[in-house]
């Protein structure tokens, strides 16, 4: 359908308006991170014109950006120095995503291609593990982790995040595998390929889009998860959502520091999504047209 010039302009304006609507909160959050504290809540709000300062970033990341009197800044190691916590988040999100995807891919392929007694119940059981509110599990998990020595450890948090993501990943991936014709497997099996070879060489490459989409979801779940990290860690490690709450002090909230950490925390997730973007678009549209 051909659009008139007026319609094209209208469409562009509408598109920009929608983009602005979603981008403005991010813009405002970024500006909070570079404002002076006294200007964050100024009335009326200073949206575009304000005095800038890198103080929040210097405090949160313990680095000098050269804005503050030319002084060098060393890692303080205190409450607001968050670089190690950003690293904790990256390690946990990447590893838990990898673990969840590896196991879920195998499980989903089996559920998609093989038949066994009680399969439907098994799938429902997987789904049902998502029905329980995490808060109901958090405290029992604390005691289990204590007994197994998993409290406050990377592998403990990675494990719980992988377990948390597994049901969703299995079900999502199963639907992606279901969309790949079984005939491909059967042809390869007749030609003498083993089941695992079929999985590795044929089905897996075809499902990469779905796997990427699932990985993004797992990564974001882990990146933003709060309750389990809060309950199962102490001083050894913490992720960004939990340490963000430490900016809430008895005498007020350090909004500038929180915004600085939040702004920085957008980047790893953004980079991860960029890396898998090519597959992601395919994954999200895979299966949209049934044969």
């Amino acid at each position: 359908m051909l659009l008139s010039p007026g319609q094209r302009i209208l469409r562009a304006v509408a598109a920009w308006a929608v983009v602005m609507l979603f981008a403005f909160p991010i813009y405002y959050w970024v500006t909070v991170s570079i404002k002076l504290d006294r200007e964050i809540f100024s009335i009326p709000p200073k949206v575009f014109s304000f005095e800038t300062s890198a103080k929040s970033y210097e405090e949160v990341f313990g680095i000098s950006l050269g804005f503050e009197q030319g002084l060098s800044v060393l890692p303080g190691g205190g409450d607001f120095y968050m670089t190690p916590r950003l690293w904790d988040s990256i390690v946990i999100a990447v590893c838990s995503t990898a673990l969840a995807i590896v196991i879920a891919t195998l499980a989903a392929y089996a559920l998609s291609r093989m038949r066994f007694r009680g399969q439907h119940h098994f799938v429902f059981w997987i789904l049902s593990t998502r029905m329980m509110p995490p808060v109901a599990v958090a405290i029992p998990m604390f005691f289990i982790y204590r007994d197994f020595g998993l409290l406050d450890t990377y592998h403990g948090v990675i494990l719980i995040h992988a377990l948390m993501n597994m049901p969703l990943a299995v079900l999502l991936l199963k639907s992606f595998f279901d969309d790949i014709p079984k005939e491909i497997d059967e042809a390869a099996l007749i030609d003498g390929a083993s089941r695992f070879l079929v999985f590795r060489k044929l089905v897996l490459p075809m499902a990469m889009g779905g796997i990427a989409a699932t990985a993004v979801l797992c990564f974001i779940f882990s990146w933003t998860e709060f309750l389990f990290v809060l309950t199962l860690t102490q001083t050894g490690l913490k992720t960004v959502p939990v340490v963000s709450s430490t900016f809430v002090t008895s005498t007020g909230t350090a909004w500038g520091n929180m915004a600085a950490l939040g702004t920085a925390a957008i980047l790893p997730a953004f980079i991860f999504i960029l890396l898998v973007q090519k597959n992601l678009v395919r994954g999200l549209t895979l299966g949209s047209v049934k044969q």
């Binding site: 006294r38 009335i43 060393l74 409450d79 709450s245 430490t246 005498t251 350090a254 520091n257």
Partner: protein, 502 residues
């Protein structure tokens, strides 16, 4: 030059440097004459002390020279514990931040004991400590205990006085329990004859107002509840809505709302509990307090019912409130020109006198009525700790007079818990307007603690009542869900009595 003169001179030149009256070169030259290099002055690092954007006082940071005798004693006595790790879960408060940020390394270096401090919002600290106690795990060697939790944790800690007496070899010389302000020991440390912890910090309600606004309108500092309301109304009438008469921390379901309520309740001769240990906030005095509060709220910014202490503090910092009865530890942040629009404009005064005041005997569960609501906390050694002796050494050091002086001058602004700290020359040297970490409000804080302090009741159910039951129902009242204050108070009475009776 005497040590005290040297420190005061150093504070003076550093202050001039921070204000820009002294060049960096001249400052370093002056400092070097005092025997301090740039590293000792903290010039190689900006200190990320984060009390709402930088109350941190550079001048005070330059003065961290711990008492040599105390550090030598710690070094000697801690030898058996070197290499041990102790953990503390605490709210992000000025003392905890100052210790974690600046002071902890001195203790660790002297003792060889590793200190790990987990900083969390208050409700998360409660969750962590509850889990620790329930599991008996001893994950945390030290507990930061809000005064409202004293009863709940009284059976899970070591009485510091008993510990001090039982282990004379670990008893810090000149620690002096009698130096702690008497009302604080009663109000935040004691439960049922047990000293649950050592007084650690003391946020307390004081009366703070905009001197420029008061001068302009010819207002006098209120000495009564009625005058406080009249001042709020006068400011609102003359300056509103640019400047509201007062402000509040009235978020539904939040502890801050309960804190505001108690100040007005006690200030009208009411109490939370009667001597029969039944809720008494719905009696005549309690309803009079609610009536007063409703009138006061008419002079507050409209967003006040969604604010905790955070929003309340910001509203004053942004210059839209003419006066407030609230936490004194806000005061230094309002004087900080980087964080506030009212730097140098605020003044502190003792709270207005109550219309009537009940005695402790006329209340229940050890409640102490007083307009100066206190939200203090204590530092306790867990009885489940695997390193109780190392933890006890840390607790003594963290609450010693010398450490408290540094905590106070570092700019947290919280009131010290020891008498001697209020009188310390280094603390008094910071009593200037318009600087981060001012201590010019501390005389008022001290007088309020001594004479006007109010403390919440001590009962195991209080954490639930103060953090949930009462503020939820008060929030419903201000949201218009009750026809009258009496209906709201009767509802609170019913729920509270049910919880207390089990």
């Amino acid at each position: 030059m005497r040590e005290s003169d040297r420190k005061l001179y150093l504070a003076s030149v550093t202050d001039r440097y921070v204000r820009g009256d002294l060049s960096r070169r001249k400052f370093l030259r002056a400092a070097s004459k005092l025997g301090l290099g740039a590293g000792a002055l903290g010039l190689t690092a900006t200190m990320p002390f984060g009390f709402r954007g930088g109350v941190f006082n550079t001048a005070a940071a330059a003065e961290i020279v711990p008492d040599a005798d105390m550090m030598a004693w710690l070094k000697d006595v801690a030898k058996p514990f070197a290499g041990q790790t102790i953990r503390l879960a605490t709210e992000s408060t000025p003392p905890s931040n100052a210790i974690n940020e600046h002071l902890k390394p001195f203790f660790e270096e002297a003792t060889g004991i590793n200190v790990e401090i987990e900083v969390l919002p208050l409700e998360q600290v409660l969750q962590k400590l509850t889990l620790d106690v329930a599991s008996g795990l001893g994950t945390y060697d030290l507990y930061y205990l809000d005064q409202s939790w004293m009863a709940s944790f009284s059976g899970d800690v070591l009485d510091p006085r008993e510990k001090y007496a039982a282990k004379p070899d670990l008893a810090m010389p000149n620690y002096n329990f009698d130096d702690f302000l008497g009302p604080l020991v009663d109000g935040i440390s004691m439960y049922d004859g047990i000293m649950v912890g050592v007084p650690y910090d003391i946020p307390i309600f004081i009366y703070m107002y905009r001197k420029d606004v008061y001068d302009e309108l010819g207002l006098k500092v209120a000495t009564t509840m009625d005058e406080f309301l009249a001042n709020a109304q006068a400011i609102q009438k003359a300056k509103g809505p640019d400047i509201y008469g007062t402000t509040g921390q009235m978020k539904s379901g939040h502890y801050s709302l309960e804190c505001d309520w108690t100040a007005w309740l006690w200030g009208h001769g009411g109490s939370i509990f009667g001597p029969d240990q039944k809720f008494s906030g719905n009696d005549a005095e309690g309803l009079e307090a609610m009536d007063y509060w409703v009138k006061l709220k008419e002079n507050m910014p409209p967003g006040v019912t969604s604010w905790t202490w955070d929003g309340q503090g910001q509203s004053v910092a942004q210059g839209i409130a003419g006066q407030v009865l609230s936490w004194g530890e806000f005061f230094p942040s309002w004087d900080n020109p980087d964080a506030s629009q009212v730097s140098g404009l605020m003044e502190a005064a003792i709270p207005p006198a109550p219309k009537a005041l009940r005695t402790v005997e006329q209340t229940g569960f050890g409640e102490i009525p007083g307009v100066g609501h206190q939200g203090g906390s204590s530092l306790a050694v867990s009885k489940y700790s695997k390193s109780p002796d190392a933890a006890w050494l840390f607790a003594q050091w963290a609450t010693s007079a010398d450490t408290q002086v540094f905590i106070t001058t570092l700019g947290g602004g919280t009131g010290p818990t020891r008498t001697s700290v209020y009188d310390d020359a280094r603390v008094k040297a910071n009593a200037k307007p318009g600087i981060p970490g001012t201590t010019r409000h501390l005389n008022v804080v001290r007088e309020t603690i001594d004479n006007y302090m109010g403390s919440e009741p001590d009962l195991p159910e209080w954490a639930e009542l103060a953090n949930d039951t009462i503020p939820v129902e008060l929030g419903r009242f201000f949201a218009g869900e009750y026809d009258s204050a009496k209906a709201a108070m009767d509802s609170i009475a019913e729920k509270t009595n049910k919880i207390v009776s089990g």
